[in-house]
C-alpha cells in the first residue's frame, strides 16, 4: 500500500498476490512436514489402518455429498446459501428415529419367536419406511421453510435472506431442542443391519471391518445421486430448474412457473437431506438437536470445494472432504479432536486459492 498504488488502482490486488503464495507455502510446508514425520520417521501404521480410514471416509463422504447437492441446487437457483439446510438433515434424522422406535415397539409374535418385533420381522420394510418418512418430512420442512422465510425476501439485498436463513436454522434447532429435549438418542437398527457388523477384509493378516450400514449408505447415496442426475438432465422438472437457474425472467416468459420451480428445488434438496439424515443415524447412531450443524458446514465446504452451483462438483467434493477428514488427523499425526479444524481450514484455503472450486463456476469473486 504505497503512494504509487493510489495512482494506479489496477495494482490493488498486489498485496493479496504476495500474501497468498506465502500462505500457501506455509500450509504446504506444514502438511509435508507432518506427512514426513508420520509416514517416514514414525511409520507405525500398516496399510490396514489406511484402508479402514479410507472406507469410513467414503461412507461419511457419501452423506456429505447428498447434503452438498442440496446447497448447490438452492445456490444455483436463488444465489443464496441456505444456512438452514443442515437442519433439514436433522429433521430427517429425527423422523427416521421415531419410525425405527415405533417399529421396535410393535410386537409381531410368531410361534418360533414370541418376542419378535416388527423391525426384525420386516427389516426391509422398516428401513424403507424410515427413509420414506425421513425424506418426506425433511422435504415438507424445506418447502415451508422456503415459503415462510425466503419467499417474502426474494429480490431483497443478498445479506437479508442469509440472515433470515440463520434465523430459520436457529428456529429449527431450538424447536427440536424444546420438543425432544437435549438428550442424546441412539438409533435402534433392525438386527439385519446392526451397527458394527460387517464383512471382514484381511490385509497383512489383519482384519479390516467393512460395516453393512456403511455399504448400504454408500450404495443408496450413489443410487440417489444417479436418480437426481437423471431428473435434472432429462425430465421437465429438471429442465425447468435449469432454466430458472439461468434466467428467471426469460424462464417466466417461456411459461415456467418460477415460484413452483423454486419450491420444487427446495423439496428435492429436502428429500436428499432427509435421506442423508437417516443414513447418518443408521451409521453413526446418535441423534440430537444440533446433529445437522457440523455436517451442514462440511457439506457446504464440499459444495464450495466442487464449485458451488455444480451438481457433479458437489458429489465429488463431498467424497473428497469425507476422505480428507477421515484420513487427515492420522496422516498429519494430530489429535482427532481437530478433524473439524481440517474441514474449516480446507474451506478457507479453497476460497483463498481457487474460489471457483475444482469443477466450478466462478461465483465466489466480487462480481457475479
Amino acid at each position: 500500500m504505497t503512494t504509487e498504488e493510489k495512482s494506479s488502482p489496477i495494482k490493488q490486488r498486489d498485496l493479496g498476490k504476495i500474501i497468498r503464495p506465502i500462505f500457501g507455502a506455509l500450509v504446504a510446508a506444514f502438511v509435508l512436514w507432518r506427512l514426513y514425520i508420520v509416514f517416514i520417521i514414525e511409520a507405525k501404521y500398516g496399510p490396514q489402518v489406511w484402508v479402514s480410514l479410507l472406507i469410513s471416509g467414503l461412507i461419511i463422504g457419501a452423506v456429505y455429498s447428498l447434503i452438498a447437492i442440496g446447497y448447490t441446487l438452492v445456490y444455483g437457483i436463488l444465489l443464496m446459501i441456505n444456512f438452514a439446510h443442515g437442519e433439514l438433515m436433522m429433521v430427517g434424522t429425527f423422523a427416521g428415529y421415531f419410525i425405527l422406535e415405533a417399529a421396535q415397539a410393535i410386537k409381531t409374535p410368531t410361534a418360533a419367536n414370541p418376542d419378535l418385533v416388527f423391525a426384525n420381522a420386516y427389516p426391509v420394510l422398516t428401513i424403507f419406511l424410515a427413509f420414506m418418512v425421513g425424506m418426506v418430512v425433511a422435504a415438507a420442512v424445506g418447502y415451508f421453510l422456503e415459503k415462510i422465510a425466503y419467499r417474502p425476501l426474494r429480490g431483497a439485498p443478498r445479506l437479508i435472506p442469509l440472515i433470515s436463513a440463520i434465523g430459520a436454522s436457529y428456529v429449527l434447532q431450538n424447536i427440536s431442542l424444546l420438543l425432544f429435549s437435549p438428550q442424546l438418542r441412539n438409533y435402534d437398527n433392525p438386527d439385519a443391519l446392526s451397527r458394527g457388523d460387517g464383512w471382514k477384509l484381511i490385509i497383512n493378516e489383519l482384519p479390516v471391518n467393512i460395516p453393512y450400514t456403511g455399504v448400504f449408505t454408500l450404495v443408496l447415496s450413489v443410487v440417489l445421486m444417479l436418480v437426481l442426475l437423471y431428473i435434472v438432465k432429462n425430465t421437465r422438472l429438471g429442465k425447468s430448474m435449469r432454466a430458472v437457474a439461468m434466467d428467471k425472467n426469460t424462464a417466466a416468459l417461456m411459461g415456467i412457473n418460477v415460484n413452483q420451480t423454486i419450491s420444487n428445488t427446495f423439496i428435492i434438496s429436502g428429500l436428499l437431506a432427509g435421506a442423508a439424515g437417516v443414513m447418518w443415524g443408521l451409521h453413526n447412531a446418535q441423534v440430537y438437536n444440533t446433529v445437522g450443524f457440523i455436517p451442514g458446514i462440511k457439506a457446504f465446504t464440499a459444495a464450495v470445494f466442487g464449485g458451488i452451483g455444480n451438481i457433479g462438483g458437489a458429489m465429488i467434493g463431498g467424497m473428497v472432504i469425507g476422505m480428507i477428514e477421515s484420513i487427515g488427523p492420522t496422516a498429519l499425526g494430530i489429535s482427532y479432536q481437530l478433524k473439524d479444524v481440517i474441514a474449516f481450514a480446507i474451506l478457507i484455503s479453497v476460497l483463498i486459492f481457487k474460489p471457483s472450486g475444482i469443477l466450478g463456476e466462478v461465483l465466489a469473486e466480487e462480481k457475479v
Binding site: 498504488e5 488502482p9 490493488q12 490486488r13 498485496l15 500474501i19 497468498r20 500462505f23 443464496m80 446459501i81 421415531f98 422406535e101 417474502p152 425476501l153 426474494r154 429480490g155 431483497a156 445479506l159 437479508i160 435472506p161 442469509l162 440472515i163 433470515s164 440463520i166 434465523g167 430459520a168 436454522s169 436457529y170 428456529v171 429449527l172 434447532q173 431450538n174 424447536i175 431442542l177 424444546l178 420438543l179 425432544f180 429435549s181 434466467d247 428467471k248 425472467n249 417466466a252 418460477v258 458446514i297 465446504t301 464450495v304 494430530i334 489429535s335 479432536q337 481437530l338 473439524d340 479444524v341 474449516f344 481450514a345 474451506l347 478457507i348 476460497l351 461465483l363 465466489a364 466480487e366
Partner: protein, 520 residues
C-alpha cells in the same frame, strides 16, 4: 364465485395456522410459562418450580383467541360479513385445537407417558393444558375461541367504522394542538442548548445511578453495555462497510485470552495488570483481523460470512483441544483473572465495571460518529452501496474493507478483555458461535447504523431475558423467530438509522419478486 372459493380457502388456512401455533405452544411446554407470565401482569407471584394458577392460563388463551379474531376480520363487505369472517376463522382454529385436546385426553385417561419422546407431554402438563378439567377442557378451549374471537373481530370492525375513525382523528388533533402550545411556550434558549443540557443530564445519570441500583441490576446493565460496545463494533463492519462477519466471537477470544493470560496466576503467572493488557488485547484482536482479512477481503458477502464462521469455529476448537492446553488452559479455561486497579486501589466491583463500561460506550460512540462522518465513512458507504462504482471513483476496496474489519475487531478485543476481567474467568465456550450470532442479531434487530437502535437491540436481546427469567429456555427460539420476522417486516430494524439509505435491489432477476413486497 372463484373469489368466494379463495376466501373460504383463506379462512381455513388462517384457522389452521392459529391452531398450529396453540398446539406448538403446548408441545414446547410454553403454556405453563405463559400462565406464569400472565400472573406476573396481575402482580401475583409464582414460586420457583411451581406453576401458576389455571385461571391465568385462561386469561392467556382468552387473549390469544381475541387476537385471532382481531387479526382475521374480513377486509370487504358489510360489517356483519367481516365479523362472520373472523368468527369462522376462530371457530376453525378452536375445532382443530379440540381435536388435539381429544388426543391429549386419550393420553391422560390411559396415563400414557410419552415424555421419553416429547418432553413437554407429561401427564400434569397435559392436564394443565386441559384446564385440569378433563373432558370439559375441550369445551373451554372451543368456547374461548368462539367468544373471544367474536369479541376481537367485532371490536376491530367497530373501531374501523367511520364514526370511530372520526373520534380518533379528533383525539389525535387535540393532542397535536396541545403539544404545539407547549412547544410555543418554551423558553427560546432550550432548543439551542437542549443537546448539551441533555448530554449533561445523561452524564450525571450515568455517574449517580449505578450507586443506587442493586448489584443484580448493575450486573445486567454491565452485560447490556458490553453488548452495546460489541454491537457498535460489529456495526462498523456489517453496517458501514457492508461485509457480513459471523465469526466475531473469535476477536472476543483474542481479547479475552490476552487479558486472561497476562493477569491470571494459573498458566503463566505474568500479572501485567489490567490497563496495559487491555491495550495488548486490542492489538491482538487487530492482528487477528489483519491475518484473517488480508487474504480474504476479495470475497463476496456470503462467502465471507461462511469463512469467518469457519475461522471462529477454528479458534474455538483450538482453544478447546488438548493441543494448546499448556498455553491457554484447554477446555477448563482460565480462572481467577485479576481485575483492574485505579490509583493503587482495586477497581473491580460491579459498580466500578459499570463505570468502565459506560466510559467505553462513550468512547465507542464518539469514535463511531467521527468515523461515520469522515471521508472513511463515506468510502465505506460507497463500497456498501456499489463496490464497482466505488472502485471506479478511486476507493481502494481492499484497504477500506480491511480497515473496517480491524476497527471492528479492536472493539471486540476491548469487550473480550473487559468481560474476561469482569467474570474473572474465560473459557472456550464463552466464545462460541452463539455469541457471534447474538451480537449480529442485536445489531440487525435494533437497526443497522443506528446507535439508539443498537442500544435498544442490546437491551431487548440481552437485558430482557435476564429480567424475565422464565423465558430463558425459549430465548434462542425467540431469537430465530425474531430474525426472520424482522427481515420480512422491518428489514431496517426497530429504530432505523436517520441517515437515508439508498438501497438497491439486485440484478435483472429482481423483477420476479413476491407481490407482497412490491405492494409496499
Amino acid at each position: 364465485m372463484k373469489n368466494r372459493q379463495n376466501q373460504n380457502r383463506d379462512m381455513l388456512q388462517k384457522g389452521v395456522v392459529f391452531a398450529i401455533i396453540i398446539i406448538f405452544i403446548m408441545a414446547i411446554g410454553f403454556h405453563e410459562i405463559a400462565a406464569s407470565l400472565t400472573s406476573r401482569i396481575f402482580n401475583v407471584d409464582v414460586r420457583r418450580g411451581s406453576i401458576a394458577e389455571v385461571r391465568f392460563m385462561m386469561v392467556f388463551f382468552g387473549l390469544y383467541a381475541f387476537l385471532t379474531g382481531w387479526s382475521n376480520s374480513g377486509e370487504e363487505g358489510s360489517p356483519a360479513k367481516k365479523i362472520l369472517h373472523g368468527l369462522i376463522v376462530s371457530v376453525i382454529a378452536g375445532l382443530i385445537v379440540v381435536l388435539f385436546d381429544l388426543i391429549l385426553l386419550f393420553l391422560t385417561r390411559n396415563e400414557i407417558d410419552i415424555r421419553a419422546y416429547l418432553t413437554a407431554f407429561s401427564i400434569e402438563s397435559m392436564n394443565y393444558f386441559l384446564f385440569n378439567k378433563n373432558q370439559f377442557g375441550l369445551l373451554y378451549h372451543f368456547g374461548f375461541f368462539t367468544v373471544f374471537g367474536f369479541a376481537g373481530c367485532a371490536l376491530k370492525v367497530l373501531l374501523n367504522s367511520a364514526s370511530a375513525q372520526n373520534i380518533k382523528e379528533r383525539i389525535s388533533n387535540f393532542f397535536k394542538n396541545t403539544l404545539n402550545k407547549i412547544n410555543g411556550a418554551m423558553p427560546p434558549f432550550l432548543p439551542k442548548y437542549g443537546k448539551y443540557i441533555l448530554l449533561l443530564l445523561v452524564i450525571a445519570a450515568a455517574i449517580i445511578l449505578p450507586r443506587t441500583w442493586g448489584s443484580y441490576i448493575n450486573f445486567v446493565v454491565g452485560l447490556v453495555g458490553l453488548y452495546v460496545i460489541a454491537g457498535i463494533g460489529l456495526n462498523i463492519i456489517v453496517g458501514l462497510s457492508g461485509q457480513l462477519v459471523l465469526g466475531y466471537a473469535a476477536f472476543f477470544a483474542m481479547g479475552a485470552y490476552s487479558v486472561a493470560l497476562l493477569n491470571a496466576p494459573e498458566p503463566h503467572n505474568i500479572m501485567l495488570g489490567f490497563w496495559p493488557s487491555i491495550i495488548i488485547a486490542i492489538f491482538m484482536a487487530i492482528l487477528a483481523g489483519l491475518l484473517l482479512g488480508i487474504p480474504l477481503m476479495g470475497l463476496r458477502g456470503d462467502y465471507l460470512a461462511i469463512v469467518t464462521l469457519g475461522f471462529g469455529e477454528i479458534i474455538r476448537i483450538l482453544l478447546k483441544s488438548d493441543l494448546l492446553v499448556d498455553l491457554t488452559g484447554g477446555p477448563r479455561g482460565i480462572n481467577d483473572i485479576h481485575g483492574p486497579t485505579l490509583f493503587g486501589r482495586p477497581f473491580s466491583s460491579d459498580i466500578d465495571f459499570v463505570y468502565i463500561i459506560f466510559a467505553c460506550i462513550a468512547l465507542t460512540i464518539f469514535v463511531y460518529n467521527r468515523l461515520q462522518n469522515s471521508r472513511t465513512g463515506r468510502a465505506w458507504l460507497s463500497i456498501k452501496e456499489d463496490a464497482i462504482a466505488a472502485q471506479a471513483t478511486g476507493v481502494n476496496l481492499r484497504r477500506y474493507k480491511l480497515l473496517a474489519l480491524c476497527i471492528g475487531a479492536a472493539f471486540a478485543g476491548l469487550v473480550g478483555g473487559i468481560s474476561a476481567a469482569r467474570n474473572q474467568f474465560t473459557g472456550p465456550n464463552d466464545h462460541s458461535l452463539l455469541v457471534s450470532m447474538n451480537v449480529l442479531s442485536l445489531v440487525i434487530v435494533g437497526g443497522v447504523n443506528s446507535i439508539p437502535g443498537i442500544i435498544l437491540g442490546a437491551f431487548a436481546l440481552k437485558g430482557l431475558p435476564e429480567i424475565l427469567r422464565e423465558v430463558q429456555t425459549y430465548r434462542q427460539l425467540a431469537f430465530g423467530i425474531l430474525l426472520i420476522v424482522m427481515m420480512i417486516m422491518r428489514p431496517k430494524g426497530l429504530w432505523p438509522a436517520s441517515r437515508p439509505e439508498y438501497e438497491q435491489y439486485e440484478d435483472s432477476n429482481a423483477s420476479v419478486k413476491n407481490p407482497r413486497r412490491e405492494k409496499k
